[in-house]
Symmetry: C2
Subunit: 212 residues, 2 copies
Amino acid sequence: MTKGAISSLVIRRMPRYYRFLGELQEEGITRISSRELAERMNLTASQIRQDFNCFGGFGQQGYGYNVGMLREEIAHILGVDRPQTAILIGVGNIGKAVAKNVNFESKGFSLIGLFDEKESIVGQVVKNTPVRHISTLDEFCRENKPSTAILCLPKTATKPIVSQLINLGVKGFMNFTSYDIALDFPNAVVENVHFGDGLMTLSYRLHEKQDN
Amino acid sequence: MTKGAISSLVIRRMPRYYRFLGELQEEGITRISSRELAERMNLTASQIRQDFNCFGGFGQQGYGYNVGMLREEIAHILGVDRPQTAILIGVGNIGKAVAKNVNFESKGFSLIGLFDEKESIVGQVVKNTPVRHISTLDEFCRENKPSTAILCLPKTATKPIVSQLINLGVKGFMNFTSYDIALDFPNAVVENVHFGDGLMTLSYRLHEKQDN
DNA sequence: TAGATTGTTAATCGATTAACAATC
DNA sequence: TAGATTGTTAATCGATTAACAATC
């Protein structure tokens, strides 16, 4: 019953709903109205109902929403139940921290390979996965067909790697670099993580409060 | 000449402008029109002019914008030229990676303290800064009055620390945890970094392409 | 049945794009 | 001066909120 072309603002709110519904489940709450959920999440009940109705009606008039059922529906919408295969490139500080700390399985991904060019890093085992040399990337991808790459390498090294990966069939990129993938590869599915941009936004809002 | 209440969408585009103007400078380009910049950044010229005009007129009719001057104006708008003092709490994988990799100085922050509760981590030196025990947080903050905290600790430990920090005068939070600061502390300035949410959004868009 | 709350339509609000007069 | 391009106003588009009929 999905209606075509769902706004990216709606999509980006779904993971937060998913997290809050998980917390409700842990609290043993099995049923919630849009009004109650709105209060907990600091949203409007209207927005919550509009958001869910983009994907079909998951509630029941006079009752509200079943927490467990709604959470499963969102998991399915987000694809968490059909994991993508991912590789991570650049096992430096950030790459290693991401590989170790992020629970890929619970977010719809299976991390199947790690790559770096430094001999001192190649061979290390992170999260039960050995770090492979970047020169073996082609072979690995032809065999394992990962759909997604997590990019944690220096900006300058990124463009040629992305080009290579796209030729190998990689469709999605979690981009920790400041290289702008979308400009050169408009068909790639890209999610950017820019700490620096976030810090600058924070800086603006702090000064806004302090100055003048 | 700033007009009141600038949209957060405009603010969030500023760091990207800042980065692109830096690249133009490196290329030796000293002058650019909104049309040319729009082409490079994949935006509309209209939006670029509207964005800059939220803060006053930085261009010149018939000429365009002076790259260096515009970049400096944005740096000033974002507060990059008046650094905030920041502390980082939780020096595990993520915390250490952030401390080591992120160039705080160039983003308007000065990282002056690192804190953890683990004895095995306390005393380590990261980026020329020793990791202090979390029990010394009060004393340190009263002496050094940091305005900002980077939170890289487990979700469950976060709420009491945020409460403590707010009492100590900390105003801004770079939040790597999935604890929702804004719900309990509505006056805090918060920037969230949720890898997990980003992965789920990526998952959605990959399935959108692949399925049906 | 009566009360509650959804799903959905209509109204409002805000952001983006288009157009053009001002001006360098 | 003529051409170019901004700053700014007006038009359009999209997202959020409000209202309410449908229905459990």
